[in-house]
């Protein structure tokens, strides 16, 4: 009965928190897991690395009876492989030389001097996005194959990409790799922006055929092309 009540409380709390990270911390707290709290992996903050940070587990409960963290360990995996850190004695770590725009699943484990272990996870990625501006008459860019950009788009405006050969464009919310929309492959592609994105900021993944390829990005400013 007590277990059922705890499970119900846990489910309700998870729904209320609306945050996976927060829910994970709550879950660990209720289950008395010695997991690190607030594990966060950076989302596109750096071009070639992922910064991971966390706080020490809450061991204030008397059931831990004075236990302390001996060391932390960070493990990560992505589509192309996996890796891990050595024993860590601080609450942050940097995964270096990571592939751009590749989602990394990161787990931080706290090892107690009692032999017990608790862990918590997050995902992150590195991003080397160039700024894409919407200049009067269009802005020209040269790429080889594929390139990531960051920009701001106004909902209700149309945005056109005219390629020297053919190309495609995929749109993502800022600091996320969850694709919103993709268009192409064609000589010119247009997207009528119907998303607010994350603060109206977006990542754009532009792919073009030809080497090197050029494209011109232009906006209709609400007047229509």
């Amino acid at each position: 009965m007590r277990r059922a009540r705890r499970a119900a409380f846990l489910a309700a709390s998870c729904l209320a928190s609306l945050s996976l990270g927060g829910c994970q911390d709550l879950f660990n707290a209720i289950l008395h897991s010695p997991a690190p709290v607030g594990v966060e992996a950076s989302d596109g903050d750096y071009p070639d690395r992922i910064s991971v940070s966390w706080s020490a587990p809450d061991l204030s409960d008397e059931s831990w009876d004075g236990a302390e963290v001996s060391y932390y360990e960070v493990e990560w995996s992505w589509e192309g492989g996996s890796g891990s850190s050595s024993h860590l004695y601080s609450t942050s770590y940097t995964i270096s030389s990571v592939a751009e725009a590749e989602e990394y699943y990161v787990t931080v484990a706290a090892h107690l001097d009692t032999g017990e272990t608790g862990s918590a996870s997050d995902s992150g990625f590195a991003m080397d996005a160039e700024k894409l501006v919407w200049a009067s008459g269009g802005s020209s860019y040269t790429i080889s194959g594929e390139r990531w950009y960051e920009t701001m788009l106004q909902e209700g405006f149309s945005y056109r990409f005219a390629f020297s050969a053919t190309g495609s464009v995929a749109f993502y919310p800022y600091e996320s790799l969850d694709e919103l929309h993709s268009i192409g492959s064609a000589n010119a592609v247009t997207w009528n922006c119907d998303e607010e994105g994350e603060g109206s900021k977006f990542y754009l993944r532009v792919s073009a055929s030809g080497y090197p390829a050029t494209f011109t990005a232009s906006c209709d400013y609400g007047f229509g092309f």
């Binding site: 919407w134 200049a135 009067s136 106004q154 909902e155 209700g156 607010e196 603060g199 400013y221 007047f223």
Partner: protein
């Protein structure tokens, strides 16, 4: 409505300040004060001595206020909101840090090429083609007001009024915060830079004059004028030129409700 406990306090206010009703604008200010008093619904504390901070009285306070960008002419067209954090040095002296979110200035492209941008304008002046896009519009700046203030308060206990006059002064800062969109739209960046060049971060003097009603030891309600002036000599010149008309020309009318802890 008002109970028997409230009536004497309000009668005393009316009796003490009949002259305030001689001009329509001042009558409106008085009506506002009376409305606050009536809404407070708490017995007046005119005879209650003001507690001293050292004697366990309130030491901190917070006022929430709503104001007009200029005087009565704009009272119902546009308002701003703010808050004041206060430290009570003595019954007659307070320090405060006031913040107000003044307004949002919108920019818009005037042609399909994005060559020319207009703004800042209020949303009501935006072209019809952008109707319904206000909530997602990314081309704007916000204007903010920040003012550390020194206050002198003169309780009117001796007249058996649950009121206090408050006079404040201090530096005033007004500044703009632009949306990140200017980084991605060069036309917008030009329009914004042009406006900012004239605006800059405004530094002036904030002068305040108001009346607060004290329905209880821990509550304050009232009205006050806020004047932003470049200098005292400028204020003197304007007062000489416009006389009392300066109040209506340059005064921002604020209504506030405050708590004391």
């Amino acid at each position: 409505m008002l109970g028997s406990g409230q009536a004497p306090g309000l009668r005393a206010i009316l009796k003490a300040m009949p002259q305030l009703a001689t001009r329509p604008s001042r009558a409106l200010a008085l009506a506002g004060a009376l409305l606050f008093a009536a809404l407070a619904g708490a017995p007046p504390t005119a005879a209650e001595p003001e507690p001293r901070p050292g004697g366990g009285g309130p030491r901190f306070g917070i006022d929430a206020f709503v104001g007009t960008p200029s005087a009565f002419g704009d009272a119902f067209r546009s308002v701003f909101f703010g808050a004041s954090l206060r430290y009570i040095v003595s019954p007659n002296l307070e320090l405060s840090l006031d913040y107000a979110f003044m307004d949002v200035g919108y920019y818009y492209p005037e042609d399909a090429q994005g060559d020319s941008w207009a703004g800042p304008v209020p949303w009501s002046s935006m072209p019809e083609r952008y109707e319904g896009m206000r909530s997602s519009w990314i081309f704007y700046h916000t204007r903010h007001f920040l003012a550390p203030q020194l206050w002198y308060l003169a309780p009117l206990d001796r007249f058996e009024l649950p009121l206090a006059l408050r006079v404040g002064a201090g530096p005033a800062f007004s500044f703009l915060v632009a949306n990140d969109a200017a980084d991605y739209y060069p036309g917008l960046a030009e329009a914004y830079a042009l406006f900012k060049k004239d605006f800059e971060a405004y530094l002036g003097l904030s002068l305040r004059l108001g009346l607060e009603y004290r329905p209880g030891r821990f509550w304050r309600l009232g009205l006050e004028y806020l004047f932003i002036v470049d200098s005292f000599s400028g204020l003197a010149d304007d007062l000489g030129r416009y006389g009392f008309g300066y109040v209506e020309r340059s005064g921002n009318l604020l209504a506030f409700v405050g708590a004391r802890l």
